[in-house]
């Protein structure tokens, strides 16, 4: 028995040593594979969402997180122009809630936003426990996230210091001027029915709200106008969630008349996403909403924010094209 026990213990020891070594190797390679710049590259497409990392410390007051609905509808530069508030859109196509959670944490690394807006379309996106655990592993060992960078890594750059100073003039907004309208019947027809929301998604939202509270910010749920993706069942689901979690909720679809959204001219893909004219209307509203409800300061005449004014000039030029 003694010999046997010894053998088992030795095996356990070997296993532990093996995994310890593996962790070290993964950490080292993660360090090597983590991008040395936040500008992106040929493999990591120009990453608008990582532009936030280049902003000066504690200068962003509002962060908008979500999927393509968010980056098509909210233009931080317009809100700067109208209200002088600094915001950033951390959104990616088909964003999963666990990415949203990643972005939230990333945002608080260098910034102290007072408001975090979570666009609600992504809340319904299906995810599995396997997905979220894979995401957790990638957070620990970023090699799993950036492994594809082998394609454009150079030996020279391996030891180089990271330079995260690139900023995006659009602040995460992606402008589309194309028009592909749709004759819209009323898509927000009242109903009692509720779109079911999986537990795992619900928990992620409450986790994010909790995180914001702890860090002195408020999470707000906002539904962006989209005649294709939104309806009253989804509205009910989010409203209930917001009540449970004591989170503010604004559904712009319900007041799209008030926003003067015209589905014939304000969408680029038949009601799925807004185009630039739609984004202007939504951003005008959102700028006022944020300034009034959260007392966000007007920084337009603050010297420390002069970069925003010059970015605005470039932004306006690029939008005109």
């Amino acid at each position: 028995m003694g010999v046997n026990l010894k053998k088992i213990l030795r095996r356990i020891m070997y296993t532990v040593i093996f995994f310890a070594g593996l962790i070290v190797i993964l950490l080292v390679s993660s360090y090597i594979f983590t991008p040395k710049s936040n500008k992106g590259g040929s493999v990591l497409k120009p990453s608008y969402e990582t532009g936030l990392l280049g902003e000066n410390k504690d200068t962003i007051d509002a962060v908008i997180i979500g999927d393509s609905e968010a980056y098509s509808a909210y233009s931080p530069m317009l809100m700067w122009k109208n209200n002088g508030i600094t915001s950033y859109v951390c959104s990616t196509a088909a964003q999963q809630l666990y990415w949203s959670d990643n972005f939230l944490h990333e945002a608080f690394e260098k910034q102290k936003p007072k408001v975090v807006i979570l666009e609600t379309n992504a809340i319904f996106r299906k995810m599995t426990y396997a997905d979220t655990s894979a995401n957790r592993i990638s957070n620990m060992f970023s090699i799993f996230r950036y492994h594809d960078r082998w394609k454009d890594m150079k030996l020279k750059s391996i030891g180089r210091k990271a330079d995260y100073s690139w900023t995006d003039d659009n602040k995460g907004f992606r402008c589309s001027s194309s028009v592909n309208g749709v004759r819209q019947r009323k898509y927000m027809k009242y109903t009692d029915k509720t779109r079911p929301l999986p537990d795992i998604n619900r928990r992620y939202v409450s986790k994010m709200a909790e995180y914001c509270r702890k860090n002195g910010a408020e999470l707000v749920l906002v539904s962006t106008p989209s005649s294709k993706n939104w309806n009253y069942q989804k509205h009910n689901a989010i409203e209930r969630l917001a009540k449970e979690q004591k989170i503010k909720y604004v559904d712009l679809n319900l007041i799209s008349d008030q926003l003067h959204i015209d589905w014939l001219s304000d969408t680029r893909d038949r009601g799925d996403h807004l185009n630039y004219t739609g984004a202007t209307k939504v951003s005008d509203f959102m700028g006022n909403y944020l300034a009034e409800n959260f007392k966000l300061k007007d920084h337009r005449n603050d010297k420390a924010y002069s970069k925003w004014n010059s970015a605005l000039q470039r932004y306006l030029l690029s939008v005109q094209k």
Partner: protein, 531 residues
């Protein structure tokens, strides 16, 4: 749970959990654990359809015992034949046994047909109705089939045939039979095991030996490499070309045909590596499903090396019984006298082969392109058989040694091309698309589009091709060692730790860096899970 073995859920959660419990539990409880884990696995994919699986086990268990009972009754009577001749008694019991065999087959095939071929049948009935100008078409039913039904049905029938033929004794233990049928690594995509292969070993609950464990893990890693470095990396480009083949020239279409053949092999054999490796951890030796198929010199040889357990199943339960049936045997004897040794048996074996390939096509799926796929391979094997003597004599006249390297290479390349074209039809969106793609390859072949950048816009770039080539080289060298009957796995585990550990770390890093996973990639669905 998704149906893929190459997933985090299976490899990092389910399998380790089962292994851990297996280590802790006493020997007697281990088979129960495996059965519970297998049923849980099945349930997590197909839910309540697990009833179908249990029903199948129930049927073959009951009928197996009945057949065994009839056999012992017959043997009793044969000892005291009384006034009846032995032949009479044998014939009488054979009749009874056949009846029960037929019931078992009908129930099993019936379930399979219900789930897999209903849509296809109704669809074809509809088109016949349309031919007569009526509009009264039947609704095409659509429902999910229990996962792996094509595979476990084959196992069930092999079992019942073997009991009928007295090759094995029927199993009294329902749960042992159930574990043989539903063992979780093999349930989704095979290999199709025989009762004599795995059932007894599965029920023993032997302790996990460290060598088996390491060999299993190594085998699994090899499979994961094939799947996520090659098969998944090719997925997007194949999807693009197959769905939009009309926009590309023949060279691109031909490339996609080669890509698909490679992907199918890497996906299927990679999954088999994971499956067989998983079983190996528990000390279970499963039959191999692949034996370096692309080294085949003829189509007939290809099918002895590709999806082997399916091929041997058809050989044992369709080909020989058909060829040995009375009318065909008579045909063989008569034809042999007139036509000689080569062409004599050819007639009856061709008929038997036709049955095999018809079944093979239908087994792969309900659709005309699968039946075409079966007939395609059948005709190549048939033609190969017919012209073989002429080829031999021609080679002699021309003084070509049929074993010399250039000749063998020519044969291997030719076989590869035939296989690629076959798989192209297999994957094309319908038979018509398959022919159009073939037409493109034959008439509109512009090789330059392979390197002038056209190909690289379709979801694959030069570096992707490079890494695929590296992975293929690794697979090729492993294949060559296997062909020479050297086990690379055994070589690795017999190395000292300071050699072995770096090897393990490099394999893990290689997969982590060069795997086609994460944003921008779409993993292939398990290709054989839906058959």
């Amino acid at each position: 749970m998704s149906a893929s073995y190459c997933s985090l859920l299976y490899l990092a959660a389910f399998l380790p959990a089962v292994i851990l419990l297996y280590l802790i539990l006493p020997q007697k409880a281990r088979p129960i654990l495996l059965l519970a884990a297998s049923w849980f696995f099945f349930w997590s994919i197909s839910g309540t359809l697990i009833i179908c699986l249990i029903f199948s086990v129930f049927v073959i268990h009951g009928i197996g015992l009945k057949l065994d009972g009839l056999k012992s009754e017959r043997d009793e009577k044969l000892k005291n034949p009384g006034d009846r001749s032995k032949k009479e008694i044998k014939a009488e019991y054979q009749k009874y046994m056949r009846r029960f065999l037929a019931i078992a087959i009908l129930l099993n095939i019936g379930l399979l047909a219900f789930y897999k071929y209903m849509g296809f049948t109704v669809c074809n009935i509809n088109s016949v109705i349309k031919l007569f100008g009526c509009k009264a078409a039947i609704d095409i039913p659509s429902y999910a089939a229990p996962i792996g039904i094509s595979f476990y049905t084959m196992q069930a029938m092999a079992y019942i045939f073997d009991v009928y033929r007295e090759k094995i004794k029927a199993d009294r233990n329902f749960f042992r039979l159930a574990l043989f049928m539903s063992f979780f690594p093999q349930i989704v995509e095979g290999p199709i095991c025989r009762y004599s292969d795995t059932a007894i070993a599965l029920w023993e609950g032997k302790r996990i030996r460290s060598n088996d464990f390491l060999m299993g893990i190594q085998r699994i890693s090899f499979g994961v490499m094939k799947k996520i470095i090659v098969a998944d990396r090719l997925n997007i480009v194949i999807g693009n070309i197959y769905s939009g083949y009309k926009n590309y020239d023949g060279a691109i279409v031909a490339a996609s045909a080669v890509f698909y053949a490679l992907q199918l092999y890497m996906e299927f054999s990679g999954t088999m590596d994971i499956v067989i490796g998983s079983a190996e951890i528990f000390g279970i030796t499963m039959p191999e499903n692949f034996s370096q198929p692309f080294f085949s010199k003829t189509i007939s040889e290809f099918w002895k090396r590709w999806h082997i357990t399916l091929g041997t199943w058809f050989r044992d339960y369709i080909f020989y019984p058909a060829a040995m049936s009375k009318p065909l045997k008579k045909l063989t004897t008569n034809a042999r006298k007139k036509l000689g040794n080569h062409f004599g048996p050819l007639a009856s074996s061709s008929i038997a082969l036709f049955c095999v390939w018809l079944c093979n096509g239908i087994w792969h799926g309900a659709g005309w392109q699968y039946i075409f796929y079966g007939m395609y391979h059948f005709s190549f094997i048939l033609v190969g058989n017919i012209i073989e003597p002429f080829v031999i004599s021609a080679a002699q006249k021309l003084h070509i040694r049929r074993t010399c390297k250039p000749y063998v290479i020519m044969q291997t390349v030719r076989t590869f091309i035939i296989v690629c074209i076959g798989e192209m039809f297999f994957n094309a969106h319908g038979l018509r698309a398959g022919f159009e793609m073939l037409g493109k390859i034959l008439t509109d072949f512009t090789p330059s589009s392979l390197w002038n950048g056209t190909l690289f816009k379709l979801g694959i770039d030069k570096l992707d091709i490079l890494i695929i080539c590296v992975a293929l080289l690794i697979v090729l060298s492993v294949s060559i060692t296997k062909e020479k009957k050297i086990s690379l796995g055994k070589w690795i585990i017999s190395r000292p730790l300071y050699v072995r550990i770096p090897i393990y770390y490099s394999i893990i890093l290689f997969i982590a860096i060069f795997g086609a996973y994460g944003t921008g990639y779409v993993p292939v669905d398990p290709m054989y899970a839906n058959f």
